[in-house]
Symmetry: C2
């Protein structure tokens, strides 16, 4: 069975040394966050993931979910593990104390979430989706939901889902067919089919709160290709009354579960809404005046907030799988013997040296590790920015811009590198990696979904280039370049920092040139922007990880101990082997779209 050791020491390094959370006690939710509390949470969450979630990962994959008599049964052991997770309070870690949660800031829930994803992505997704759903209710729901529904979700008694996708409608919400018709009592009657609903049904909780988007038809009952008709709804599996009492089963029926490549312990459901009672979230949409365009439903902000959190969460899934795949590849390379070190036998008394002596094996492991640890730093830094953005600090606005800009990077680059790390971990096993019993091929299959759901990675690139770069007159890239220039200026006189400053500079220059090129050409020919979007996203990802490695090198220089030496090793690796991609990616962006658009 694969192993997993929670990277508690790395999180401690990030939180105490790199981000110095102790200096951020002014941020919302950070007041009680003493270093001891952080360490305590990390250690306990790590232990829980190692001991309770991870032992069910391979068996859950093997057994999968069952769809019987219209309901879902999760794999053996999931129910007990989920109960233990809830009872330990992990599901409510980030929820406000008023709702029964621990009130911890997102930087801690992110750490706990990553460890859960390493240990058992299928299982850890159930509470992750629940947290996303109660977050949306807290943001947009009426008081009775906050009072009677949210606490049940925080405690884990009830779960939540995001129900957005339909058979003919993924990215392009205009194509949605599910409709919700207002009833005299102010609720809505919902009809339609949603697919790919993670945790859409299960046997872990007494009730499930579905967060659904649907169109409100016009006065003739027709739905339109108009995004402004899309609204955000709360649709419980069992109807919940305003006083919190639970009534009959709602018209939400499970049409089936998907037979998937991976995350087989996670029930991916088809949900049929058959006259389901639904509650619209947010203020009631105002019908447009004649000649005016309908404005977007205010409740949709809750959906977008939930979706952005989910995108960051999926990026963290990539990091989590990257970590566990690295650990197993590393362990195998220290067990398996093959060949001799190129410079002469390391253990002449043994029939062969360990696989780890081979430079190509070390290269694979360092590629996986420097990406994973670099992305963990980027995710932590971005999550800290999200708290700064919600504070009254003067830098709140630029922190919000950076959080917004980094969301597609963490989702897309995070899951691409996570999938690569899964493959590298498996590659260390040679032919044995392909055998299911060894458990590493599961990481490849599980992590592959992270690149396609929650907005396929190409969609993230389009979002980055088509929306985020230009928004507010380019404020986000300007904030980013100011940050990069500031860091370079701060460190370029430091002799010991030279290799790292050079790397960050090189990435920054390529990224700036690519940004200028897109600004100059993307408006003239939008296909030029589209053709370079994925390469641009990767360029920003590599550059941001260069910055993270530069920052981590700075706090590691001159310190003793394995962790700091390893940080310097990874930082050098990133500058030497990944930063050289930057000019190449710039060249690809600048190649434009002419040869690409020829494909019919």
């Amino acid at each position: 069975m694969p192993l997993y050791r929670a990277p508690v020491e790395d999180f401690r390094f990030l939180f105490h040394e790199l981000l110095e959370l102790e200096k951020h006690r002014d941020l919302p939710g950070f007041a009680d966050l003493s270093p001891e509390l952080i360490d305590d949470i990390l250690a306990n969450a790590g232990k829980f993931c190692e001991e309770v979630l991870q032992p069910l990962n391979q068996s859950g994959d093997e057994e999968g979910c069952h769809f019987e008599n219209g309901t879902v049964r999760t794999p053996k052991g999931f129910k007990e593990a989920y109960k233990a997770y809830s009872e330990a309070g992990w599901g409510g870690l980030g929820a406000p104390e008023s709702a029964g949660g621990a009130g911890m800031p997102p930087i801690l829930t992110m750490a706990v979430s990553e460890m859960g994803m390493s240990a058992n992505q299928s299982l850890a997704m159930y509470p992750m989706l629940t947290a996303g759903a109660y977050g949306a209710l807290l943001a947009t729901g009426p008081d009775w939901m906050k009072q009677h529904i949210v606490p049940k979700m925080v405690s884990g008694e009830w779960a939540g889902t995001m129900a957005l996708t339909e058979p003919g409608c993924g990215t392009d919400l205009r194509l949605m067919k599910t409709k919700a018709v207002e009833q005299p009592d102010g609720t809505y009657k919902m009809n339609g089919t949603k697919i790919f609903i993670s945790g859409g049904d299960q046997d872990l909780t007494d009730n499930i709160i579905h967060m659904v988007i649907a169109k409100i038809p016009d006065e003739n009952g027709q739905i339109h290709d108009d995004l402004a008709t899309v609204n955000f709804f709360m649709v419980p599996k069992f109807i919940v009354k305003g006083d919190g009492t639970v009534a009959a089963k709602n018209g939400v029926n499970v049409g089936g579960i998907e037979h998937k490549m991976g995350i087989k312990g996670q029930a991916t459901c088809v949900l049929n809404f058959d006259d389901a009672i639904a509650w619209r979230l947010g203020p009631k949409p105002v019908p447009p005046k004649p000649g005016e365009k309908r404005s977007t439903s205010a409740g949709m902000a809750g959906m977008f907030g939930m979706m952005n959190q989910a995108r960051l969460g999926v990026g963290v899934q990539g990091i989590g799988i990257g970590e566990v795949a690295y650990q197993n590849g590393y362990a195998y390379a220290h067990e398996r013997r093959v060949g001799r070190a190129l410079t002469g036998p390391k253990e002449p008394d043994k029939p062969a040296d360990l696989e780890i002596v081979h430079p190509d094996v070390k290269r694979m492991l360092l590629q996986a590790r420097s990406a994973t640890e670099g992305l963990r730093a980027l995710a932590a830094w971005t999550t800290l920015n999200s708290s700064i953005a919600r504070s009254s600090r003067p830098e709140a606005e630029s922190a919000a811009l950076l959080e917004d800009l980094m969301t597609p990077i963490i989702k897309s680059f995070g899951t691409d590198m996570g999938f690569e790390a899964a493959n590298l971990g498996m590659q260390c096993y040679g032919g044995h990696g392909y055998i299911r019993d060894n458990g590493v091929e599961q990481f490849v299959r599980d992590s592959r979904i992270n690149q396609v759901y929650e907005g396929a990675n190409g969609v993230q690139a389009m979002d980055l280039v088509g929306r985020k770069l230009g928004r507010k007159g380019g404020a986000a890239p300007m904030a980013l370049f100011a940050l990069l220039a500031g860091w370079i200026a701060e460190n370029e006189k430091d002799q010991a920092m030279q290799p790292f400053v050079t790397g960050v500079k090189r990435g920054t220059e390529a990224l700036q040139a690519a940004t200028m090129w897109l600004a100059a050409n993307g408006l003239k020919n939008p296909n030029d922007a589209g053709a370079g979007a994925s390469d641009y996203l990767r360029l920003m990802g590599i550059t941001m990880l260069a910055l993270m490695w530069g920052k981590m090198a700075k706090v590691s220089l001159g310190k003793d101990g394995k962790l700091h030496k390893d940080k310097l090793m990874c930082a050098r690796y990133w500058m030497e082997r990944m930063v050289p991609e930057c000019p190449m990616l710039l060249e690809r962006v600048q190649a434009g779209s002419s040869s690409i658009m020829e494909l019919d």
Copy 2:
């Protein structure tokens, strides 16, 4: 169910226009190879793969192989399809007419093999392994085997395997434990365990001829960590006597079949040799004189020949999966509607445009296609070189060097790009790609094995850098650089060829610099060569595909029709988007091993 259309037109382009096989009728086996015969074979093989093999691909994956009462049962339909394959003569296409084959040269068997791998890798591997085994018997077996065993394999009545790997021994043959002890009648008694034996057992044929390597113990019955004690053996499932009669079952027992990530219709077996009767191949090894080293068994040449063919064959598996994944991604992008073209709606009367309008989708498809078609050209060109190498032409020697040099490139770069193409094809499906019913995730799982078996890709890189570059005073890279320089000189005055010549030049310059760097540093510090081996291999792969695309562009320029225009489009794509990797890969090679070797 996924679709597959055999790329007959592309093979016709390669054989008639690019390689002009009509001018090679002097080569061994080419005399009867008229253009009509080539077209006839391609069309019939393509039809067979589309109609007989491909419909069983998804069902074979779903059902898998069964291990019951000590024997293997293949998935439903495999037996009938295998019989039809054999009866149509595809299994003996490349075998000499004297053995009942069609005597076609390897360039045709390669084409038929690729189509089989696209259609159904699991099923097509059974005859591929048989052809490898009878090829080895033809090369090293005694007359009675050529007379009584080979024809049964050519007809498909019997199958063959390669039984090399052991539980503790993959790449490093010194660690092998299986031993074979000579008996008074000149046969050997073999004991040991082999694992990962593809087609190690099945219900398709009456007998299976295992090609096995094992150590011959010394006079005290001890085996040694000495490669020269390894010999090559023929071990039938049912004993075959010298007169061809089949006797009792041999001591070869199936220990089980592996539960794998993919190629589930292919039985990957554990074989236990329990006093199995084995026939050593090749002349009897001469015991070393006192003080001398034992020399390698002459029969091992047959094993190496079989292994090199298998490596090329695995590269072709990568190409085959790349092709079918591309076709399905392309088809899906022409069915699914999402969003609008960035330059304005293409089909304003439809609710959304087709997915193919998006530049990032075209980019993914062109990446898969230019790699797949480029690799197909490289494999065909290399296979033609293998025939030239076996001819009496003056260029036979340099053709042999190029074939040898390209073997790790086609295996490793071919399967890396095949896996990438499988992922890109799947990515075009968005979230739907992850669903097993859609059949594209199978390409990802199936093609993943191509990177790890038959020498993991990192092992190929070590073989390239550690052995093939330096052999015979660097004759192989010298032949390659002469070829590249010749092509550049021949085309650089042609205005229309400029973009392609520039690309080939850029790749060549980086490859030359990397080769010089490895020559200068690899001896001083072998870890420097090891650390850069994988990047060097990729650099050579990209450069060789630039050459292939340059050659394909040349024969396509000025010609009408979709095929030639598409070739020019792919050639431009390769030069614009893949060749820019070359200087980056050079930089990675030159980064050396110092940061990498720090990982403990």
